[in-house]
Amino acid sequence: MTAEHIGTTEHIGTGEQVGAAEGAAGTAGAGKGEAVPDVGLRAGRVSRTADGRVILDGVSISPAPGSTVGLLGPNGSGKSTLLRLLSGVLTPASGVVTLDGSPLGELGRRDIARRIAVVEQQADTQVELSVLDVVRLGRTPHRRAWTPPSQADEEAVRDALTRTGLTDRAQQSWHTLSGGERQRVQIARALAQEPRELLLDEPTNHLDIQHQLDLLNLVTSLPVTSVVALHDLNLAAMYCDRLVVLREGRVVATGTPADVLTEELIAEVYGVRTAVTRDSEGPDGRPHVRFLGTVSRSEPRESAHTCPE
């Protein structure tokens, strides 16, 4: 996978769009003539504006098949927008999102939905549905009007329930589930789509710590490529193979958690002071982030009493 993330650490400093350094991904939409095999889901220098404000500015990502990529960045850095571009719900103002080399815009919604499944931050409905009903929704892109569910449909639903440990709760009403259980059902629904790419937008929000770990364990054990927006840096360090850090709509760092999660980068992007330790030396050493306080910026007095100097 030569087109995978080039370079190990591309740290900020200049504020230039480092994402563009991933040149192969940036021109991925160009076509089949390239030497690089164009497999999986990629964003090539995508931009998006809303109400004249730039939300995303030339972002490229190209997750390796089967890997888990974490999207980090403060609120408003463009994580959700990037995920919505990757799922094809939004179209980029410039740049292109490709699936196996074909721009999403040229694929039908059904074809996209058979490859890419999305789990939102928090899904809710007023419709009275059972767990089984929700998981069955995942078969929507595979089914035709007027036809009963096929053998393959039933198997995919059964599989998804088994994998998420929900088989016994198939008949339970959605409205009686806790937040963690609802997210689990949404993941089962996504699995029933039989996707190869899974996009998750802060799926652990609103969950207690046990359910956060359960959910990310589940996601990383799945045989799919996952792109997951996360707030918690330590969860990102524990579960992601690669991280992409966004700030103000630009990629400011990509690489393994050990490469990306440094005290300098966290201070620069999040404006907080941290102590980062490793659980072991070497490239596999997962970093652990301990928060010390906010970085003093224009209000030194404010930080004076939040930081134990």
């Binding site: 719900v89 939905a113 939102e120 899904a123 009903d133 929704l137 995942g138 929507t140 009007a145």
Partner: protein, 342 residues
Amino acid sequence: MTRRTARPRVGLLCAAGTALLVASVAVAITIGPADIRVADVWSVVASHLGWGSAELSPIRDGIVWQLRLPRTLLAAVCGAGLAVCGAVMQSLLRNPLADPFVLGVSSGASTGAVVVVVLGAGGGLVSVSAGAFLGALLSFGLVLLLSHTLGGTTDRVVLSGVAAMQLFSALTSFVVMTAADAETTRGVLFWLLGSLGGVGWTDVWVCLAVLVVALAVCLAYARTLDAFAFGQDAAATLGVSVARTRLVLLCVTALLTAALVSSAGAIGFVGLVLPHAARALVGSGHARLLPVAALAGAVFLVWVDTLARTVLDPQEVPVGVVTSLIGVPVFVLVLYRTRRTR
């Protein structure tokens, strides 16, 4: 799984519903000032379909074939159509209070129809229906635009509907007061309240044809409507082309509403109440919900219309008045329950 046992139950329910509907129509026809028995209804129908000779007097034959039968059948068609419109709108807008009447679509259709009738752009049923269709589309579009600009939450959609209803009611009154003579005014006002009096076979055939087409289209979109349960973005990621679905179903429900309003006026709350009743029976899967809602709506309106034309006999209460008397408490109940689940 257990759903397998649920499926034949729906088939059974539809069969039972159809039988109930046929029986309701037959019995409803016998109720009224002229003494007619169920057996008479059958023999009149049979003779007109060429299966036997009529043994009844021409007057009784006329009462059944020219007055009560088309009226009762139209009640069934209207009930079914309004219930289907309501079920589809509720799912499409993710709003348990959506219904052609609440959203002002019926008012828009009324305005369109009144403009055609009063301003005399041809009084035929087709041109009245065309006017009603334009009015319905216009008001539906206005409601969607308004609620979208206001933020799209449940209460905003309903408030936009109220605004549209007021606007189009005012327009209708304006047109009627300025341009119609006294007699037309009386007729129009009665029809505006929703009335099945004085309908003929043409009304039945036009509405039935539109209903069959609309129901077929909605059933083809049944699974797509299911996918809207978690919102339109979720539907999009399930492979639904949201814009096309909205456009198609918006046009179909507007067309159906327009056809029904042209013949029977704006009958309120049937589209609100019956889908909820049908959901309680068969759940929210649209492949099952839509036919059951249609049958329930048909049976419901047949009996409500029978009530409306007999309760103050010989005077007739507009059927829309009766459905509103039943519908408003249900509307409040649904509103209360959605507030609580928030």
